[in-house]
C-alpha cells in the first residue's frame, strides 16, 4: 500500500522539482527589479529575518517589468510574429503531414514499418547540424543555387527570409505532425470505410465524412505538438531567418544573454507560457470530448 502511494506521488515530485520550482524561480525573477550586470536581483528572500523578512520580500516584488513589456512595441511585434510563424507553420504541416500519414497508414503492413523508420530517421542526427545543413543548402552560393545554375535557372535568395524560416520549421517539425496523425489513422477500423462505401458514399465522401472527423484527435495532437514549440523556437529563426526576423525566442535570447536583463527575459517567458497554456487547455478539452465521443 505504502509503495503504491509512493509510486503515485513520484510524477508529482518530478513536476515539483523540474517544473514548479524552476517556474517559481522564473516568476520571481520576472517580478524583480532590473539591475545592471549580475544576479542576484533584488529583492532577496531573507529567511533569517523570519515572517517580517518574507513580508518585506513580497512587498518589494512588483509588475514593473511587465509594464515595460507592454509599453515597448518590440515585444508585441515579436509575440505576433512568433504566433504567425507557429500558426502558418502548423497549417502547412497539416497540409503536408496529413496526406503523408494517410498514405503510410494505407500501405501494406510490411512497408509501413520502413516508412515509419524513414520518418524517425532524421532524429538520429543532431537537430543543430540539420539546420546548419539547410544554411548550406540555401545560402547564396549554396547547393540549391548551384543546382539551379546547373539547370540554367536564375538563382534564388531564400536564406534570411521568412520563407527559409518556414522551410526549416516544416522540415524540423514534420515528424511531430506525421506520427500522431499516423497513429490515429492506422488504428482506424478499415471496415468503417467499407461501411461508408456500402451505404453509398463515394471514396471522397467517405474520407470527409468518416476518416477525417474520426482522425480529429490526431490532428489536435499533431497541431499541439508542433504549434507550442514553434512559438518559442529559437534556433530555426536565428539561423535561417537572419537578423531581420523578430521572434519571441530571439528576443528572449537577446534579453538574457546580450542585455543581461534577466527580469525582462523571465517576464517574456512567463507571458509566453500563459499565452500557450490557453490554447493548450482549450485543445485538451476538445480532445477529451472527442475521445469520449469515439
Amino acid at each position: 500500500m505504502k509503495r503504491r502511494s509512493l509510486a503515485a506521488i513520484a510524477p508529482y515530485l518530478w513536476l515539483l522539482a523540474f517544473f514548479l520550482f524552476p517556474f517559481l524561480l522564473v516568476a520571481k525573477l520576472s517580478l524583480s527589479d532590473q539591475a545592471l550586470a549580475m544576479p542576484p536581483y533584488a529583492p532577496r528572500l531573507d529567511l533569517a529575518a523570519g515572517v517580517a523578512g518574507i513580508a518585506s520580500f513580497l512587498k518589494a516584488l512588483d509588475l514593473e517589468t511587465y509594464l515595460r513589456l507592454a509599453s515597448d512595441r518590440l515585444y508585441l511585434v515579436s509575440y505576433l510574429s512568433s504566433l504567425k510563424f507557429a500558426a502558418v507553420g502548423t497549417v502547412i504541416l497539416l497540409l503536408i503531414g496529413y496526406p503523408m500519414a494517410y498514405g503510410m497508414s494505407r500501405f501494406p503492413p510490411a512497408g509501413r514499418q520502413a516508412l515509419l523508420m524513414a520518418v524517425i530517421l532524421p532524429f538520429w542526427t543532431s537537430f543543430l547540424i540539420r539546420i546548419y545543413a539547410w544554411v548550406a543548402i540555401l545560402k547564396p552560393q549554396g547547393l540549391l543555387n548551384a543546382a539551379l545554375q546547373g539547370l540554367g535557372l536564375p538563382a534564388l535568395s531564400i536564406l534570411n527570409t521568412e520563407t527559409a524560416v518556414y522551410l526549416g520549421l516544416v522540415y524540423a517539425y514534420l515528424p511531430f505532425m506525421v506520427l500522431p496523425l499516423y497513429a490515429v489513422l492506422e488504428r482506424q477500423d478499415p471496415s468503417l470505410m467499407e461501411a461508408a462505401a456500402d451505404l453509398g458514399a463515394s471514396p471522397l465522401q467517405a474520407f470527409w465524412r468518416v476518416t477525417f472527423p474520426i482522425s480529429m484527435p490526431g490532428v489536435a495532437a499533431g497541431a499541439l505538438l508542433c504549434f507550442i514549440p514553434m512559438v518559442g523556437e529559437f534556433v530555426i529563426p536565428d539561423l535561417l531567418g537572419g537578423p531581420g526576423t523578430l521572434t519571441l525566442g530571439r528576443t528572449l535570447w537577446t534579453e538574457f544573454f546580450a542585455n543581461r536583463d534577466w527580469p525582462a527575459a523571465s517576464a517574456v517567458a512567463i507571458v509566453m507560457l500563459v499565452t500557450l497554456v490557453a490554447p493548450l487547455v482549450f485543445l485538451q478539452r476538445r480532445a477529451s470530448t472527442l475521445a469520449a465521443a469515439s
Partner: protein
C-alpha cells in the same frame, strides 16, 4: 415418403427454389476467387430468390464471407459472374450497388449519433431532409431504439449497437440485406431473442436476407435455405430440415448438429434396405435406403443422438443393437446426453428429452446399457 410426410417437423409452402419458372434475385455463376496461391472460393454457383432468408454456413476460412463480399463489391471474382436481377454487377463499385451490409464488427461511425448513423445511407441517396428524418424515426421504431437517437455508439450496449447497425443497413431499403455473423457478438439469451426478431423483421419487410454464419443453430433457426460450405465449395444446399435429416455427406452430417457415424461394409443393398457389417453391432446395421450401393463398398450410417434409443435392460436381439458402458452423462436440463462406449472403443451419443421430472431407474456412470435405432432413423452416406 408419402405426401403427408416431410423431413423434419416443418412444412413450409415458401419454396421458390423448387419452382423452375421462378427467376432468382441474386445469381452466383461459377464464381472463383483466389488470394495469391489460395483459392478462397472455387467455382461456386448459387441462386438466391426474392424474399428468401438465405444462410451461408461453414467454419471460418471456408470462403463464405468472401462470397458475400463479392456480392457487396468489396472483392472482385477472378472467374464467373455475380448478377442482381439479371444484371451483371462486374465493374460496379460498392457504393453504387443497391445492397447493404451489416458488418460483423457493426462498423458504426463512432463520431456520429445513432440517428446520424442511420441517416448516413439516406443522405447519400440525396433524399429530402424531411423524408430522411421520417425514415430514421421509422427505423428507430422498428428496432425499438426510439429513446436513444442522440446517443453515440460507445454509449450503447452490444445488443443496442447490433440494432443500430441493422437499422442503418435497412434504412436505404436495400434489394438484399447482407448480414455478416450478425449475432456473433451477442450473448446467448440475446442471440436467441434476436434470431426471432430478425425473422419477424424479414417477414414483415418482405426483404431478401443473406446471412453468413458459422453457427449452425443460428442458420437452422432463421434461414429458409442453408448452403453448407467447406474449403471454398458449397457441399449441400437445402432447407434446414433437409440439411439436418438428409445430409449428403459425412461433413454436412457432422457439421450440422451432433451425429453418430457408424462405418461398415455393404452386405446387401436391394433398393429398399441397406445392410452393413460393422464391428460395433454383432447383428449388423440396417437402414431404409432406396439408392443401391455396390456390394462390400465402404459406407456410413449417420444417426442423430436424439434418434438413438437407450435401454437400461437388454432389448430383444436384432439389427442396429449395440451394447456399451456409460462413459459420460451431460445433463442440460431439457435434454440429457449419454456418451456410451461400445465395442471397438467407439463412443456413441444418445440424447433423451427429460419429459418427466422424476425418473425411475436412472442411468449412472459406468452402467451397462443397450442402444438401438430405427431403420428410418439412419442416413446412409457413401462419402
Amino acid at each position: 415418403m408419402t405426401s403427408r410426410q416431410s423431413l423434419g417437423a416443418v412444412r413450409s409452402s415458401f419454396a421458390p427454389w423448387a419452382d423452375p419458372t421462378a427467376t432468382p434475385l441474386v445469381r452466383f455463376e461459377a464464381v472463383t476467387k483466389r488470394f495469391g496461391a489460395e483459392t478462397a472460393v472455387k467455382s461456386v454457383s448459387l441462386d438466391i430468390y426474392e424474399r428468401e432468408f438465405f444462410a451461408l454456413l461453414g467454419p471460418s476460412g471456408c470462403g463464405k464471407t468472401t462470397l458475400m463480399r463479392m456480392l457487396a463489391g468489396f472483392e472482385t471474382p477472378d472467374e464467373g459472374r455475380v448478377t442482381l436481377e439479371g444484371q451483371d454487377l462486374a465493374g460496379l463499385p460498392p457504393h453504387q450497388r443497391p445492397l447493404h451490409m451489416m458488418f460483423q464488427s457493426y462498423a458504426l461511425f463512432p463520431h456520429l449519433s445513432v440517428e446520424r448513423n442511420i441517416a448516413f445511407g439516406l443522405q447519400r441517396q440525396g433524399l429530402a431532409k424531411a423524408e430522411i428524418s421520417d425514415r430514421v424515426a421509422e427505423m428507430l421504431a422498428l428496432v425499438r431504439l426510439e429513446g436513444l437517437a442522440r446517443r453515440k455508439p460507445d454509449q450503447l450496449s452490444g445488443g443496442q449497437r447490433q440494432r443500430v447497425a441493422l437499422a442503418r443497413a435497412l434504412a436505404p431499403r436495400p434489394k438484399v440485406l447482407l448480414l455478416d455473423e450478425p449475432l456473433g457478438a451477442l450473448d446467448r439469451k440475446l442471440r436467441e431473442e434476436t434470431q426471432f426478431e430478425l425473422m419477424a423483421l424479414q417477414q414483415r419487410l418482405g426483404m431478401t436476407f443473406l446471412v453468413v454464419t458459422h453457427d449452425q443453430e443460428e442458420a437452422m433457426v432463421m434461414a429458409d435455405r442453408i448452403a453448407v460450405m467447406r474449403a471454398g465449395e458449397i457441399v449441400q444446399t437445402g432447407p434446414p430440415p433437409e440439411v439436418y435429416e438428409a445430409p449428403n455427406c459425412r461433413y454436412v452430417a457432422d457439421f450440422i448438429g451432433e451425429v453418430n457415424l457408424f462405418e461398415g461394409q455393404v452386405e446387401t443393398a436391394d433398393g429398399r434396405l441397406v445392410r452393413l457389417s460393422s464391428p460395433v453391432c454383432p447383428q449388423g446395421l440396417e437402414a431404409a435406403e432406396d439408392d443401391p450401393l455396390p456390394k462390400s463398398a465402404a459406407a456410413w450410417f449417420a444417426v442423430r443422438p436424439e434418434k438413438m434409443v437407450l435401454h437400461p435392460t437388454p432389448p430383444p436381439p436384432g439389427p442396429n443393437l449395440m451394447q456399451g458402458k456409460v462413459a459420460d452423462i451431460g445433463y442440460l436440463g431439457d435434454w440429457t446426453t449419454y456418451v456410451v462406449e461400445v465395442a471397438g472403443g467407439q463412443t456413441v451419443r444418445a440424447a433423451r428429452a427429460n419429459a418427466a421430472r422424476v425418473v425411475e431407474n436412472p442411468v449412472d456412470w459406468g452402467d451397462t446399457v443397450w442402444l438401438t435405432f430405427a431403420r428410418d432413423a439412419a442416413v446412409v452416406l457413401s462419402r
